[in-house]
């Protein structure tokens, strides 16, 4: 079943004199439970593509349907709520709230969603334990290593029970050991919760784990391959 349906997606940036087509007519679908890497060289348009997919960057034309909803038809207010309830984000530089503990960071979106306290606490504990950092629930981000922070970020993204998770270069700031551990945990989460993961990356280790690799160059899909792993 398709979770995301993308049709003729175009993004043009107008600078002072020239027009730059960052994404140039991408049509692609993502199914539930996929573990996909969108790859391509720097400037190929993969981050812009992910941002449009995640409801952060408005496309010049084309449509993004998530669970049947055309996200770019939503008002900006509804779009924020839609992101909160349907999309999990994992960023390159973790982007945790520094004044909150690991547990509070995970709980935060559930709090915005208005979930009951008991449910929030149980799910926070479950997510952090699943990511192997249950013992760091009371630690502030500054007291955690980069790998641990990124695990908290993944736990936060999963906690809100999204349709899919967008991870933009999640391993770029991690050492090899942390990357391997993180990818393994994300892969486990993908299988355990059947949550769709879409990565923008040029990290070979991510590509090695991905069951689908979409290669983008000059804003267009160059190849779209699926693997049995």
């Amino acid at each position: 079943m398709n979770v995301i349906e993308i049709k003729d997606l175009v993004k043009i940036y107008n600078s002072s004199e020239v027009q730059v087509k960052a994404v140039n007519g991408i049509t692609v679908n993502f199914e539930e439970g996929e573990f996909t890497a969108v790859v391509g060289p720097s400037g190929s348009g993969k981050t812009t593509f992910l941002n449009m997919l995640g409801g952060l960057d408005r496309p010049t034309s084309g449509s993004v349907k998530i669970g049947g909803t055309n996200v770019w038809d939503l008002s900006s207010r509804k779009l924020i709520d839609f992101r909160m309830n349907n999309i999990g984000f994992v960023f390159q530089s973790y982007n945790l709230i520094p004044v909150l503990t690991a547990g509070e960071n995970v709980e935060f979106i559930m709090h915005l969603q208005g979930r009951p306290k008991k449910e929030r606490e149980e799910r926070t504990k479950e997510m952090l334990e699943a990511m192997g950092i249950g013992d760091r629930i009371k630690s502030r981000p500054a007291k955690l290593s980069g790998g641990q922070q990124q695990r908290v970020a993944v736990a936060r993204a999963l906690a809100s029970k999204p349709e899919f998770i967008l991870a933009d270069e999640p391993t770029a700031n991690l050492d090899s050991h942390s990357t391997t551990e993180l990818l393994e945990l994300m892969s486990q989460m993908n299988k355990k919760y059947n949550t769709t993961f879409i990565f923008a990356t040029h990290d070979q280790r991510v590509m090695d784990k991905a069951r689908r690799i979409i290669t983008i160059e000059d804003g267009k899909i160059l190849s779209d391959e699926k693997f049995e792993r």
Binding site: L56, M84, Q92, E104, I109
Partner: protein
């Protein structure tokens, strides 16, 4: 959770936050202390005017206050005063003969207002008897004693037991004179009053002026608490129907305005302090928002809506302002409490203050409602200070913000 985030955010940059908190605390302390001082000054002035000069309520025959006609007296004043003394919360009622006259010493003369009073009754209404600095209050001189102010004594160049001639017109418009001797010299700390108000015994003045017995131009009433003023005033009105009954606020409107004006000045003063602090808070909050552009972008991306972002910035600004404000209020209130019993000593400038009728020792007076209002003003300042920074925060585009590395 938003409140918790905002509170913790304040302490991310401790030095910066403490600088602004300290500034707010200092400003609010100055405002509270100045308010307590000015209020104390005004209250003391009013209380002094009531206790020394006015009393709480006065009764006159209609028109007396306008024309000071000697014949415009209340024939039943003595009985009226007795009835008034029986009213609950009334602590004294003194009937007075009031006459504008000349007082002359061997050297010079001066126009004064002479009050003929019953010393025993007058002592229950005004406190001139406690303000005698030389001699005694109608004691020591058997025949025609007079109590005069220090300033008048200096002007007439007289001392205790000096002779003074009081000249006035009686009810038949005859000019009559009486020889009096100074029995006491008082100071009310109001030079203008001291120079123009002279006290003699009721009986002496009544005899000299040939007024009928038991009459008076004025009945001055003292009560136990200003809170009871209205109740007592309405009871007095019932008893003294047909006469003009006025409380101190009507007798001396400028005293009433003094309290209101002082309150207004203090609010203006505090608002000016807060306005100056406002720009400091805006500056801090702008730095906060600019430093956290990426974080705010991330919060927007993961689903924090504009109302929550706005609330977060406003809450942070309010908490920052309120922390400083509460510290300032506590120190200011403590200062005021301390100075309620240990007055602020302005004796170095006593002469100037006394010329204006103010005390040289000021007991602070701080009303709790003032503290509540200052707290509200601080919160409003916090909200106003956050508006522009919050607007800047809302203009963040999450995609752009997240691109920042």
């Amino acid at each position: 959770m938003l409140l918790s985030i905002s509170w913790r955010n304040i302490w991310r940059n401790k030095v910066r936050s403490l600088v602004i908190i300290f500034s707010i605390a200092l400003g609010i302390f100055a405002g509270v202390a100045a308010t307590a001082f000015m209020k104390g000054l005004a209250e003391q002035r009013i209380q002094k005017v009531i206790n020394t000069e006015l009393s709480y309520i006065q009764i006159h025959k209609n028109g007396f206050r306008q024309n000071s006609d000697f014949k415009s007296y209340m024939p039943d004043a003595q009985n009226l005063a007795s009835e008034i003394r029986a009213i609950p919360n009334v602590t004294g009622a003194s009937q007075r003969i009031i006459v504008q006259s000349m007082i002359a010493s061997a050297e010079t003369a001066s126009g004064v207002l002479i009050a003929g009073v019953d010393p025993a009754q007058e002592s229950k209404v005004t406190n001139i008897h406690n303000r005698i600095i030389e001699g005694d209050y109608f004691e020591g001189i058997k025949k025609n004693p007079v109590v005069i102010g220090k300033k008048l004594a200096e002007k007439l160049n007289v001392k205790i037991k000096s002779k003074l001639v009081i000249t006035l017109q009686d009810t038949a418009n005859n000019v009559i004179s009486g020889l009096f001797r100074v029995s006491g010299i008082y100071t009310s700390n109001n030079n203008v009053y001291d120079e123009s108000h002279v006290f003699v015994r009721y009986n002496d003045l009544q005899r000299l002026s040939a007024l009928p017995e038991g009459v008076a131009h004025e009945i001055a009433i003292n009560i136990n608490d200003n809170e009871n003023l209205q109740t007592v005033e309405s009871s007095v009105n019932e008893i003294a129907s047909g006469y003009e009954v006025l409380d101190w606020k009507s007798l001396s409107p400028e005293m009433n305005y003094l309290t209101e004006a002082m309150d207004l000045y203090m609010y203006i003063f505090i608002i000016i302090i807060l306005l100056a602090l406002l720009f400091g808070i805006i500056n801090t909050m702008l730095m906060v928002v600019m430093e956290r552009t990426k974080e705010i972008g991330m919060l927007m991306a993961i689903g924090m809506n504009k109302i929550r972002i706005f609330s977060m910035v406003v809450l942070e600004s309010i908490l920052l302002s309120l922390t400083g404000g509460v510290v300032g209020i506590i120190i200011g209130a403590a200062f005021s409490k301390w100075r309620e019993t240990k007055p602020i000593d302005l004796s170095a400038w006593a002469q100037g203050y006394e010329q204006l009728g103010y005390d040289a020792y000021v007991y602070t007076n701080l009303e709790p409602v003032m503290l509540v209002n200052i707290t509200i003003l601080v919160i409003i300042t916090g909200v106003i200070a956050a508006l522009y920074p919050a607007y800047k925060a809302l203009r963040n585009d999450p995609a752009d913000a997240l691109r920042m590395e």
